[in-house]
């Protein structure tokens, strides 16, 4: 299967997950977007060496994945797949930061390792939150929510057009790419053939744009995309928003891991 088909399969799966009918799916997208943004900002606001305080934040993805009916393995796999760049930077932390911060008996753990682990946990939390947001909300609903919260109409129309035509164009690109692969006899694609392949795709795209424009004029399109269902920001959304916000903010200031750990070691010792 060519590269483009593989990358696109996950895209389509994530898109289809948004058509679910769970309680989370039925919430107004604005609430979900706001909660996700607050989540990301609080996670990212922790200091370099905060590690244990981040762990309670796993509750949000855990709850959203189960109540939203998302496949947990899929989300975890996608997050792990995208960690490499961050890890490449993060792995330098133990190299440059060698002061021992924590001693576990005879073993000393340097600050560098703690901050590296913190980076890994942060990655999992923030990237997971973004994927979960799309999985329970769906891209058109997110665009509608952003537009109602102040995003310029031009960008909203652009995003919805883009989303609508991604499926069409990636299929065209995949067809051309597969055809090239089947005829390449293992020699690979040089720049010249790539340029003509992509050039043809571009020309066809341009002509398609002209056809779309004429279709728009013929149907009186004025820039409004109609959503499948109308959303209202009601009591449930307020509860969702304030409940999670209160949790994130209080977890920011009280280290739940430490409190639980203290309680447990207090009982044991």
């Amino acid at each position: 299967m060519s590269n483009i088909d593989k990358s696109f399969r996950d895209f389509r799966l994530l898109d289809r997950l948004a058509f679910g009918e769970t309680a989370v799916h039925r919430l107004d997208p604005r609430a979900k977007v706001l909660v996700t943004l607050l989540y990301i900002v609080t996670v990212v606001s922790f200091g370099k060496y905060d590690l244990s305080a981040l762990f309670p934040y796993f509750i949000f993805p855990a709850v959203m994945i189960s109540v939203g009916g998302l496949p947990a393995g899929f989300v975890i796999r996608k997050v792990l797949l995208l960690a490499p760049f961050v890890l490449m930077i993060g792995i330098f932390n133990p190299v440059f930061d060698r002061e021992v911060l924590v001693r576990l008996g005879p073993v000393g753990i340097s600050g560098g390792w703690i901050s590296c682990a913190s980076i890994v946990v942060r990655t999992m939390l923030t990237l997971g939150a973004a994927l979960i947001l799309v999985g329970v909300t769906g891209f058109p609903a997110i665009c509608g929510a952003l537009e109602r919260m102040g995003m310029p109409r031009v960008l909203a129309v652009q995003l919805l057009f883009l989303y609508r035509y991604i499926f069409v164009l990636t299929e065209e690109g995949a067809r051309a790419s597969r055809a090239r692969e089947l005829r390449a006899f293992g020699k690979g694609l040089g720049m010249k053939t790539f340029a003509s392949l992509v050039g043809h795709l571009l020309l066809r795209t341009w002509q398609r744009a002209e056809r779309i424009h004429m279709a728009m004029l013929a149907r009186g399109f004025v820039g409004e995309f109609h959503a499948r269902r109308e959303f209202r920001f009601g009591a449930r959304e307020l509860l969702f928003l304030f409940g999670w916000s209160a949790l994130f903010i209080s977890l920011r200031f009280w280290n739940l891991s430490r409190m639980l750990g203290d309680a447990l070691t207090g009982i044991v010792s």
């Binding site: 996670v43 244990s52 993060g90 930061d97 001693r103 031009v154 164009l169 790539f194 750990g261």
Partner: protein, 343 residues
């Protein structure tokens, strides 16, 4: 750029800049009243998406690369429409491919969109293209713009990472890692963009009409001037200030000659003291650098045993607590899923 390497302050600032640029571009695109551009932007964004997934082999090395495409869009659409299109592609990548994260999206839109459309395109590409563009000139302009753009973008990433303070990578090391690689990437991007543009020029040159018609260098609207100044400020503040001299300035030098110290001590009582303490607490950038975070206490070599064991106690309970919360989160998730399936 990724969320995990970002601090809220840096992320917020970059988001503010990107949002401002988006608002400005939206107004510009709407006011140009070229309705044809609306579907064109959308479809070209999808095209960019698809084109980025198709690989080609780089001649000398044999490894595979893919086109970035920002410069190509700027050439085809003009700066404002291209900026919005690039931003929209990045939004989709951030949401569906978790490409960096939602907070880092502001940084990415700036590094890959703003720099390409509003700095490299007008200042490099258009300048080299000049008044009488021809195909050779266009190739040269494209190469130069690709190389410069792919140097400034990673520079932005390095600066953002440095100012966030999450990564320990020293500034110069990171810079030396990123820039040479991106020089090579820039050259490849230049070649491939020139190839695609030449192909288009040979088949349908009217598409490149926007690119080839030389804009009259007439009256520049105030907004453009302000934008240029903003860009210059960012560059100077971000880059040139690193070379700011540490030597005492004129006043400090004079004081040093007279009193033997660089600064005069102020009385610590009375109104001076109150104002000084207020200033110390509110100074966001004391002495023009970031406030040093309180260093975590490090147990010295022949350290206090009680202190060390106290620290170990804290860390053990911290680790235990962390694992407990993880287990709790998993259990809660499983219970909820069980209930969901039972219903």
């Amino acid at each position: 750029m990724a969320d995990a390497l970002l601090s809220p302050a840096v992320g917020g600032v970059m988001w503010a800049v990107s949002a401002g640029a988006i608002a400005y571009s939206a107004v510009k695109v709407r006011s140009e009243l070229d309705e044809k551009k609306v579907p064109l932007m959308g479809v070209l964004g999808a095209f960019l998406f698809a084109a980025q997934m198709i690989n080609f082999t780089i001649p000398a090395t044999g490894s595979s690369g893919h086109i970035g495409g920002g410069l190509l869009l700027a050439i085809l659409l003009g700066p404002h429409a291209a900026f919005l299109t690039i931003a929209s592609v990045l939004v989709v990548q951030a949401l569906f491919f978790a490409d960096g994260g939602l907070l880092a999206l502001g940084c990415n839109i700036f590094n890959m969109g703003f720099i390409t459309a509003f700095i490299v395109y007008p200042l490099v590409y258009k300048t080299i293209l000049g008044r009488n563009p021809n195909q050779g000139r266009m190739a040269l302009a494209t190469m130069a713009a690709a190389i410069v753009g792919l140097q400034l973008g990673p520079l932005g990433v390095v600066l953002e990472t440095y100012f966030s303070g999450i990564s320990e990578l020293p500034f110069t090391t990171f810079l030396l890692l990123m820039q040479p690689i991106h020089l090579a990437i820039g050259i490849v991007e230049g070649f491939i963009t020139v190839a695609v543009v030449s192909f288009v020029y040979q088949s349908r040159p009217e598409i490149l009409q926007v690119a080839l018609e030389a804009r009259p260098i007439g009256v520049h609207p105030v907004r453009n001037v302000l934008l240029a100044f903003l860009a210059a400020t960012v560059l100077v503040g971000g880059i040139v200030s690193w070379y700011a001299s540490e030597n005492p300035d004129g006043l400090e030098w004079a004081i040093a000659r007279v009193t033997g110290k660089e600064e005069l001590t102020e009385p610590s009582r009375g109104i001076y003291g109150v104002l000084a303490s207020i200033q110390q607490k509110t100074a966001f950038l004391p002495d023009y650098s970031f406030r040093k975070a309180p260093e975590p206490a490090v147990t010295s070599e022949g350290g206090d045993l009680a202190e060390a064991s106290g620290k170990a106690g804290t860390s053990v309970s911290g680790i235990v607590g962390a694992l407990m919360t993880l287990v709790l989160a998993l259990v809660i998730g499983l219970v909820l899923r069980r209930r969901n399936q039972a219903v």
